[in-house]
Symmetry: D2
Subunit: 344 residues, 4 copies
């Protein structure tokens, strides 16, 4: 029997992707859609300007949107997917958790909190048990789990694959798609025939979230990894797909072939949304490319290529679909992990 | 009285920009236009598909294009600007130099040769005197001077400005415009809603040309600088303007303010095509941007911004107009330097 | 048992789409891939630069490409899909037909020939029987059927839906995607931040092919329809999806609601590649849009919207996926029609 | 001595273009900048996010922005350029006119009012004298003159050039740049790899403003022309430059050569911002193109090309720079006309 789920912030860009992924999902059944006060009471079809390129499902269009507050969500809903603006998320997510809901959240608030697991299932599923600590400390019946920022999700799996060589330093430059900023985040006047070498507070996310994701959880507390990361973030005129240039220096010697093999063999999981092949490694030096490769594994795979011995350590490029693997799909995958691990 | 000049490879993208810059130039007078065999004998208007966004000058349109060989160029022409494909340049540029012509070339062939000066006038004008060595060794009446690759020209001036702090390591990721590949270099199917993380042999150019440009000439030979450079190059959907993310580590401490001051105060020259302000430094973290800032100083300035203390050393972004400062304008500026220094 | 088929011109843009559509097709089995002399003898993986955004199927990659001539194609192949350049098609397609092959061709040659059926199955399936005339006249065992140009396919179905009102005049302006010109047809320098109000001989195709498609076949000969069509064609910076603005004047009064109903109710077919809904009609005035709506019906549907009473008659917009419904998918659908009608 | 002028709505996209054009203008001196309440009291540098691609002039950056009300504007200012949102313009423009200010407005409000001249100086300068009627009727010391919508300005000059042949019907399809919607008007998610076949109320503007512009003023009242116009409007991914496809049917026979000659010879004016050549006519069928031709005559010229005998009458394409000739430059030109005709 399917778990009844809700989407907090259902009308936004990630909310729409969540609905697109959850509606056909055999383990989940959408039972609640919330949005801001101004949308509450409307049907979803009225409240949302649907912009995903598959038609809005009829039954979803007819659901009534509620306010984003625990009282408005049916009690038999067990799992909430949250794509709220971070300021809203910071305020309301804890009220849902107190009320007993398990929240799988894409919002950036609380990602770095000591007792909040930040999870990419293939990379650090074992961090999920930090929820025991969280429940103890906060006295929650519910739980709050986060997925990282879309630009972090893109390169951390490739680092995880190389961790056995002893990660020391990482430089990463990102070429990020406009969808990462939401539907209204980047105007056309800003980006056509242009690039913007700045995304507010993004560089910090790559630098800190990566260390938490690669850290060790000993059953009681989490120690962040010591790899040092420097990030430079750019917005470019692509719709979907974040491309990243990475240089990594390791303790142990790391050849191009070692790196490709480690990435290719890095295991995927058995979760329903896991791709068969987690990291696709290209031999062709001009791949991966956003438009060509973002839909690998239905948008849930990571692509890597261009491996080359650099002046400093190893250099390569990686890519993921920022609104699927990097946002909505990441939250759904965490939901599947919560289900498998008995948290629902 | 104006120096009579010619353009080798006049029908291509850089050739057209050269004509656009040379036609109104008070010190130079266009007296020869060469192209491939198939164009020889046609008027320039017939031979070239003019694609610069100012109308083709009437007198240029009516000039007869000749083959690219010394016999086809009038003897009273003193200076040749070359934008030939590098394989052609490698073959024919020396024949012009033997024949007494001075060649200011944008083509990539011979850039790293020991006796060929590779020059950005504001950075290493003194390297020009390597021409004495060149003439001695090769027995040429003419001379061959090169400007670097467009992606190299963008970041080397900012490094030159920081050289006093002792350059140690540089990581540079480039976001390059399609015009850098010539009119037919990148198809629309390849680049719309996409990015390509690879430009053939480009990374090597940034890594090696930068060391030559920053090197020391002692009157007899040139010693390359020891700064270690790692480059990662990307093509993005912009028309003009290469944007670069740079991380630099220095021997001496280098603050954000030190770096900005050093760049702002890095001197320009008195050459006719020199911009008043060589390096424009932005305080606004989201600048420079290609479409907004590529025409600073009529396309001959460098722009920099986003200075930030990084996990490793200092981080910033820089930009230049790749077909003006990075190609045609670079060759013209070298021509002006040759004139000023008595090589014509 | 699947019909064994071949693809003539398999390495080009439409050829790759054909393979993408045919490879999983239950009624067809790919048994031959042809290309130009220079590719013959190579594996398809070597010969083609695969640029469709799904991975190249392994068994296809390993097939050997042959020259485009009847002797090179196995005899047990019954049906050939042709996406040859029209000058090549004009030369070699008849040789295949003489040799007994049935050819479903997307190439523009012979489309207007009196004895060559030009078919959109949902619109004029009955024209297929012109093949009897063709075989009689030409003495062929094989047969040649054509699908129209991608820009013609987009608007003709909507006209067919309105035919009962008596079509008199049509003005159509097209906004066409770059993929319509093939992989190398439009350079990035030509189209980024730009539009080109001209596509060679395209306007003529819309004006004449539409009259043939809407014409009447009496069992012996085909009479073209008398609707008068004026077309103006533009290339814009989109990857896939031709959008068209149409004004139509009819003999009988035609209201917005009449037109929308006629289009919505225009029947689809039972062929395997037919979409469930042939023409999708939008009420939202800003639809259809290329990126949002080109994949309706897996790229085989037509979308229409923006219906409005104009100063002259009725005005609306329509859209189709130019490389699926407008090219490769159109040929496959004609292949399915040939199979159903016993021509194989 | 320069006329002191002000800009109403100075911080928006057209406001910034107005400042860019007025700042170096020898006949006008910027003495007032107004914006919404929230900007009043700030310096212009603080209030405006400057996005024109030439640096903000220092003296402008330091001017204090005032509220948009007559009391806030110095009395010695004679002429106001207005680029207010039309709802605001409808409210405040009359209060300025009552107070004695002459207003040259780009806002769409009141364009179709009987006593408000709608003027393209090269086309219908004589309509300006409608201001006598306006002052009589409204009892204003000031005056209100309008320029048409950017998409109207593009094609009406070409119709004016053909008027002698007796205009009967016009179909026009537009391909409009994103800047026409203002800085935030079109998001990047809406337009990259896409086109939008709808611009709210735009089609009506082309259909009605054109008839007013081509109408006759007999000294007392204005009779609109009887040409019938049908418009279809599209937004495409270009930054600047509206391209339009036109079909025109005329009473008298109109050949391609007649049309090209009439356009080429259509006179420009002696006003300071008038281009030397008003309508540039291209013989090359693929011109004009937005990125290539929008800056002809410093963005004040009209470009036309692709003339062809159509199924119905004559067909051609035209282009203008929508934020210069189509908006800010149009208002400045009307200001120059007001000055020349003694209205200041």
């Amino acid at each position: 029997m399917a778990v009844r789920v809700g989407v907090l912030g259902a009308t936004g860009a990630v909310g729409q992707r969540l609905i697109q992924l959850l509606e056909p999902h055999p383990e989940f059944e959408i039972a609640a859609l919330t949005a801001s006060e101004s949308s509450a009471g409307k049907t979803y079809g009225q409240a949302a300007k649907w912009r995903v390129n598959s038609p809005i499902p009829d039954d979803i269009a007819e659901m009534t949107v509620t306010a984003t507050e625990p009282e408005a969500v049916p009690d038999d809903v067990d799992l909430l997917f949250s794509s709220l603006p971070s300021s809203v998320g910071a305020e309301v997510e804890p009220t849902f958790c107190e009320d007993g809901y398990v929240v799988s959240s894409n919002s950036s608030n609380s990602r770095m909190a000591d007792d909040v697991p930040l999870v990419i299932p293939e990379v650090n599923a074992e961090h999920l048990d930090l929820l025991e600590v969280q429940r103890d400390e906060r006295g929650w019946d519910g739980a709050l789990v986060k997925n990282p920022n879309c630009s972090t999700i893109t390169f951390v799996p490739t680092l995880a694959a190389l961790a056995e060589f002893g990660l020391e330093t990482v430089h990463v430059a990102t070429l990020q798609a406009v969808s990462g900023a939401g539907y209204d985040g980047v105007t056309s006047m800003e980006i056509i025939d242009n690039a913007i070498p700045y995304i507010g507070s993004e560089e910090d996310k790559l630098e800190t979230e990566s260390r938490k994701l690669l850290g060790e959880f000993d059953g009681a507390s989490l120690t962040h990894d010591e790899v040092e990361v420097a990030a430079s973030c750019n917005r470019i005129p692509t719709i979907d797909g974040h491309l990243e240039n990475v240089w990594v220096e390791t303790e142990d010697p790391l050849s191009v072939e070692d790196a490709k093999t480690a990435m290719r063999e890095y295991p995927s999981l058995d979760l329903r949304s896991s791709p068969d092949q987690f990291i696709h490694v290209f031999d062709d030096p001009d791949r991966p490319q956003p438009r060509m490769d973002r839909t690998l594994g239905d948008g849930m795979a990571i692509a890597a290529g261009g491996h080359r011995e650099s002046t400093f350590g190893l250099q390569y490029n990686c890519l993921s679909h920022n609104t699927i693997r990097g946002a909505a799909g990441a939250s759904v995958l965490n939901g599947e992990l919560l289900l498998e691990n008995g948290y629902l």
